[in-house]
Point group: C2
C-alpha cells in the first residue's frame, strides 16, 4: 500500500500464474504447456526475424496474421482481433465488452483470471455454480445479465460443452455478449468459431500457447462480429499501438501454415491423455472426462496437496488449487509426453 | 458504435500511430525509428531463442532483464518494471499511479498518447501550455495536482530539460507522482534515473525502441521507488501475467550488454542531427534545438503539409501533425542515416 497508488490498485487481487521453475530437471505438468516443440517451420520463420528489420516497428494492425487467421476460420480479417496472449485479449474484452450495468455471468469454478479482470475494471459479476458433476450447466445462465463468459473446455476441470448447447444459449441470449474462451478447444472440442457469422453477440477467444506449442511467444486472438472486434480495437489502440512484436506475428502465421504438424501433435496429446486417464483410474483416482491437455483428478483416500508435495519431491510439478473448497481435493495434471506420463504413473505407484 | 460496447468504448479517441508503409522503397523518417540495425550480438541472441523452449511460458517476472536493467542503472531489481514497449508501461502507469482526484498535469503539446490514456482510464487532466519558445516551463507545474508527466526531451519538439530543473520540480512537488518519459534521452540528454533513490515519487520511463534499435521487439521499462513499481506490478499481474515473450526478454538483455555498439550508434545519429540541422537552417528552416533523434522544423514561407506531400512524392515520409494549431506549420523529421539525411536535403532543395 502506497499513498501514490490510484484507488483501484490497493483493491486488486492479482492473478498468480503457475510456477516457472528455474531448473530444467523437473517434469513440468503444472501450467498446461505443450510437451512437444513448435513446428520446425515455425522455428525457421522465427530465426528469419532476427534481422535488421527489428529497428522498425511491427505492423500495428498485424494484417498478415489477421488475414491468415481469417482464412483459417473462414471469416474476414475485420472479424479477427489479436493480442499478447489470450490474457491480453481477455483483458481488453472485459473492459470493452463485458463491463455493463447488469452482472457478468461466469462459472464459479473456472479460469481464476476472470475475477481478477473484474477487479481491474470494476465489472459487476455473478458466479454461477457448476452442477454436481462439476460441469457447466448453461441452463443456469438463462437469467438477466450484462454478458456471459466461460471457457470451453472449462478450466481447471477440462470438461467440454457440445456446440449445440452453446448454440441454444446463443438463441436464447441475444441481448448481451457471450464469450467462449477456447484456450483448450483443439484437444478434442468443436470450436464455436463456426457460429460467429450467425450470432453478432458471440466472441470466441483462442491462443497459440497450448495446441500450437507457443506459450513463449504470447499470441492470442478473438473471432467475432466486426462491431465487437471494432470495440476491442478501439481499446487496444488506446492502450498500445503495437502489442505484437515481429517474432510473435511471424511465428503465429507460420504455425497456421503447418496444419499437419499441428494435427499430429494434438493427436499425440489426446492419445497420451487417454492412456494417462486409464492408468490413473487403475490407481483409484477419479478422473473427470477431459477434452483439454490436462486431467483434473482426485483420490478418495489421499490428500491432493500431499500427493502434489510427494510428486514435487520426485521432481514432478502438478497444479493444486487450495481455493475454492469444492476443488481443494483435486489436482490438475498437464498431459506431458508419453514418457513423462509414464514417469508420473511410476511415481504415483510409490505413493 | 455498437449496443454491445461498454460505456467507455464509444467515448474513446484512440491513438493513431505513424504510417508503416508496406513498400521498402521509401525513406522512412516519420516514426523516429533508429536508422541503424540492432547490435549483431542482439541478433545472435535472438536467433538462439528460436528454439524448442518456445513451448514454455516466458519468465512472468522477467527477472534476468530486471537484474540487467538494475545493474545498468545502479538500482535494485525491485525498482524496475518492464512491459511491451513503453506504451504498455505508460498505460499501466496512468491506471496505477496517475488516476487521482486532483488533475494530472502534462504539456499541451506533447506525446499525443497521453490524452488517449486519460480517456481510457477516465483520468482528470489539465494541459499546461508550452512557453513561446515551445519549451516545457516546469515553473508552470507548481500548482496543486494529482500527478505530473512530461517527456524529456519533449515530443514532438525534441527540446530537452536539464536535470537540475527536474530536481527542482521534485524538491517542490513531493505529494504526487512525477513521471519523466525518457523515450529519447539517449540522444543527448541526462537521465533522471540518477534521482530515483532521492525521490520516492519519481518514475522514469524508457524504451528499447529508439536508441537500442529495437522498435520491432516491443520492450519498455520504468525505474522508481519499489512502492511505485509494486503498484505497476499489481496492475500488470491483473492484466497479463506474461507480457514479454522470450525474444523480447533475451533481446533486451543482450542489447544492454553491448554498450559500445549502443554508444557508437547514438553518436552517429547525434552527428547526423547536427549536420541536418545546419543544412535545414541554410535552406531557411527554423529548427528547434533537439536532443532527440528527430528535428522539429518549420519554414517561414512554405506550408508544412505541402512540404510533407512533396517529399512523399519523392518517396520520403516525414510526420506532420494537423493538430494542435500551434504546431500545424511544423514537420517532425526523424534523423536517418547520413545518406538518408543527404537525400532529404537534396529533395528539399528542389521544392
Amino acid at each position: 500500500m502506497s499513498r501514490f497508488w490510484s484507488q483501484i490498485v490497493s483493491k486488486l487481487s492479482p492473478y498468480v500464474p503457475g510456477e516457472q521453475p528455474k531448473t530444467e530437471q523437473l517434469i513440468k505438468l503444472n501450467t498446461n504447456e505443450n510437451p512437444y516443440p513448435p513446428s520446425p517451420k515455425v522455428l525457421a520463420a522465427l530465426a528469419q526475424e532476427a534481422s535488421e528489420q527489428l529497428r522498425l516497428y511491427p505492423d500495428p494492425n498485424a494484417e498478415s496474421l489477421k488475414q491468415t487467421l481469417a482464412d483459417y476460420h473462414q471469416l474476414s480479417p475485420d472479424q479477427v482481433f489479436v493480442g499478447t496472449g489470450s490474457d491480453e485479449v481477455l483483458a481488453h474484452t472485459f473492459q470493452a465488452l463485458l463491463k455493463q450495468d447488469k452482472p457478468l455471468l461466469y462459472p464459479e469454478i473456472s479460469y481464476s483470471f476472470y475475477p481478477v479482470y473484474c477487479g481491474l475494471y470494476e465489472v459487476n459479476a455473478e458466479k454461477i455454480p457448476l452442477n454436481d458433476k462439476l460441469e457447466i450447466d448453461l441452463e443456469a445462465y438463462r437469467i438477466d445479465n450484462g454478458g456471459i463468459i466461460f471457457p470451453n473446455p472449462n478450466a481447471p476441470t477440462g470438461q467440454l460443452l457440445p456446440l449445440d448447447q452453446i448454440r441454444q444459449l446463443l438463441e436464447f441470449n441475444r441481448k448481451s455478449v457471450v464469450v467462449v474462451d477456447e484456450a483448450y478447444i483443439d484437444f478434442g472440442g468443436q470450436s464455436a468459431a463456426s457460429l460467429v457469422n450467425d450470432y453478432p453477440n458471440l466472441l470466441v477467444i483462442q491462443t497459440f500457447s497450448k495446441s500450437r506449442s507457443l506459450a513463449g511467444l504470447r499470441v492470442g486472438f478473438a473471432l467475432g462480429h466486426r462491431d465487437l472486434i471494432d470495440g476491442l480495437e478501439r481499446v487496444k489502440n488506446s492502450f498500445n499501438s503495437y502489442p505484437l512484436d515481429r517474432f510473435a506475428q511471424a511465428g503465429a502465421v507460420a504455425a497456421l501454415h503447418d496444419q499437419r504438424y499441428f494435427e499430429q501433435s494434438c493427436q499425440k496429446i489426446i492419445d497420451s491423455r487417454q492412456w494417462l486417464q486409464q492408468q490413473l483410474e487403475n490407481l483409484g483416482f477419479n478422473v473427470l472426462p477431459s477434452s483439454a491437455n490436462f486431467l483434473f483428478v482426485s483420490h478418495p483416500e489421499k490428500d491432493a496437496e500431499q500427493i502434489s508435495q510427494s510428486l514435487r519431491e520426485q521432481s514432478i510439478i502438478v497444479r493444486h488449487f487450495k481455493q475454492p473448497a469444492e476443488i481443494s481435493q483435486y489436482l490438475r495434471i498437464t498431459v506431458g509426453t508419453q514418457q513423462e506420463c509414464e514417469q508420473l504413473i511410476t511415481c504415483m505407484k510409490t505413493l
